[in-house]
């Protein structure tokens, strides 16, 4: 667990982070969102001691990070940045193996770990191991950036607008990867973004910040249903809010189990972990008003109807 306890960081008299207190649960994905200069990136850099707070305490698993050697702390925390920052003079394998080398892992273990991570990020080791950063596309570079951050199997990964510079399809693909990797590896991920859609789509919990202060810290559904104030309401997009709910809520939350007198649905089924937006799209393109719902293994679970999507 990461605890921030009345943390203050001032730049030129102005509080970049102004009395921030919140707990980030272990093994969850927490997104920080807010406009430029709201203190979200500063908060991230406080957690791995790239900057030091003027006041307050930051604890990781109960330990005050001010008492740790910064290098030791950082080698235990994955770090991904928007500009990626791959080492241009090292190939992909050497880039991914950076932190294990700093930690003096045996060579064979590092090599095995590099292959494992390339597989996890869906990059073919045979093709990519020996490539240099300048030979990769932006999306591939950031996949390597994420692999590098995960290399030493840290419990915590910090991501500072990691997909901000990527084109929308690549960004969506990588958001999917992050969800999948978080589900598979159960890391604690702290993800900073200025994009509310991204924050709502990825976060188990979303921290909305404004002028160095925490405005709301809640689940995406909660934020959409009960924005804490006008700032949050405006930030989540006023009139588009109900559409956003569709993108955030899952089919599993709205479906009815079979045999509950809901009738039958035929045709192509939708997975329970799909979003309501995907369900609506499928209904519209196939001209049906109900879809069968299946689980990840393809077992039939129940039914979702057009009417189930509408009540908020």
């Amino acid at each position: 667990m990461i605890e921030l306890d009345h943390v203050v960081k001032r730049y030129g008299g102005r509080g970049a982070v102004d009395g921030l207190t919140l707990d980030i649960e272990a093994r969850t994905l927490c997104t920080f969102v807010g406009p430029s200069g709201c203190g979200k990136s500063t908060t991230l850099r406080l957690i791995n001691a790239l900057i030091r707070p003027d006041q307050g305490v930051i604890r990781i698993d109960g330990k005050d990070i001010a008492e740790l050697k910064p290098e030791t702390l950082r080698r235990g925390i994955g770090y991904v940045i928007q500009s990626i920052g791959l080492f241009p003079h090292w190939n992909v394998a050497d880039n991914i193996g950076t932190v294990p080398r700093l930690l003096r892992w045996p060579k064979a273990r590092i090599e095995a770990r590099i292959d494992e991570l390339l597989h996890l990020l869906r990059l073919d080791p045979g093709e990519f191991r020996t490539k240099f950063p300048h030979q990769l596309s932006g999306g591939q570079q950031q996949r390597v950036g994420v692999a590098r951050a995960l290399a030493a199997d840290p419990n915590i990964v910090l991501m500072d607008e990691p997909f901000g510079a990527l084109d929308p399809p690549t960004r969506e693909a990588l958001q999917g990867e992050i969800r999948r990797i978080q589900a598979e590896t159960k890391k604690t991920i702290v993800f900073v973004t200025h994009d509310m859609d991204e924050a709502l789509r990825l976060g188990d919990r979303v921290a909305v910040m404004q002028s160095g202060k925490l405005v709301q810290f809640a689940t995406p559904a909660e934020i959409l249903a009960r924005p804490a104030n006008d700032f949050v309401r405006q930030f989540v997009g006023g009139a588009d809010m109900s559409i956003r709910v569709l993108a955030v809520a899952r089919v599993a939350e709205r479906m009815a189990p079979d045999g509950a007198g809901q009738g039958q649905a035929r045709g192509e089924a939708i997975r329970e972990d799909a979003s309501l937006k995907e369900a609506l799209t499928m209904m519209m393109t196939s001209g049906r008003d109900a879809l069968p719902v299946i689980d990840q293994e393809g077992r039939r679970l129940g039914i979702i109807r057009l009417g189930d999507l509408a009540h908020l």
């Binding site: 290098e71 770090y79 500009s83 920052g85 241009p88």
Partner: protein, 243 residues
């Protein structure tokens, strides 16, 4: 080594070995000169002594220049950076001959003052290029390195210096090429260099000596320059700057 560099090396060796046997054609070129081939010292001896001076002074200059450049780009040395930069820039406006002249009253005549003068002068472009190279390392890469847990020393050795190497090498190249030329003037204060036949040829009105010394030193400078071209190319590839 590229084929061109290799060819230049062979041409240089061949010329130095052939010079003692070139009296007949030199006679034909300079009929008025009695002894047209420089014989006070062999050209092998001259080129080795010349190269010795250049290598020793450049090595010392590289050590001092790179250290000064590293110091000026560390947090503790940052406030000295403008001063160090100014010294390096202003120092290079002095002609190398002047530096050589200043060192005589301090160190006397012969090899040592030449060595010191060359080293001092060469340290300036190397310092300047080291500062430029280290400053040019991308902020993003350094940010990533710091965030991943590099210590300052490892960041310098594993990330900053390899990425700055092409620019640092460019500075060392300038220094070495200037030194090859300037070392010839060292013969005016008694050092044994490829300048010895030139100086003697000038004072004794023997254009054959001047030509021999000049051609060999020019060929040496071109060869070493090509050698650096190959080195910079290699360093650029390694730093991922070009495919």
């Amino acid at each position: 080594m590229s084929p061109l560099t290799m060819a230049l090396a062979l041409a240089l060796v061949a010329l130095v070995l052939a010079l003692p046997h070139l009296a007949p054609p030199m006679h034909w070129l300079f009929p008025q000169v009695e002894r047209p081939v420089y014989e006070r010292a062999s050209f092998v001896e001259l080129i080795l002594s010349h190269l010795g001076l250049v290598l020793a002074s450049s090595a010392a200059a590289a050590l001092v220049g790179v250290s000064a450049g590293i110091f000026a780009t560390r947090p503790s040395g940052l406030e000295f950076a403008p001063l160090i930069n100014a010294i390096a820039a202003i120092g290079q406006t002095f002609p190398p001959v002047a530096v050589l002249a200043i060192s005589v009253p301090l160190l006397g005549y012969g090899g040592p003052p030449t060595l010191v003068a060359l080293a001092v002068y060469a340290a300036l472009p190397i310092t300047e290029s080291t500062i430029a190279g280290l400053t040019a390392v991308s902020r993003d890469v350094k940010d990533a390195a710091e965030g991943l847990g590099f210590s300052r020393l490892r960041m310098l050795g594993d990330v900053e210096l390899p990425l700055a190497l092409p620019i640092i090498l460019t500075g060392i190249r300038i220094a070495v090429i200037i030194n090859i030329g300037t070392a010839t003037i060292g013969s005016t204060i008694g050092a044994l260099t490829l300048g010895s036949p030139i100086i003697e040829g000038l004072s004794a009105s023997n254009p054959a000596y001047v030509l021999e010394g000049a051609v060999v030193v020019a060929l040496l400078a071109i060869f070493v320059d090509r050698l650096f071209e190959d080195g910079v190319h290699w360093a650029r590839q390694r730093s991922g700057a070009s495919p």
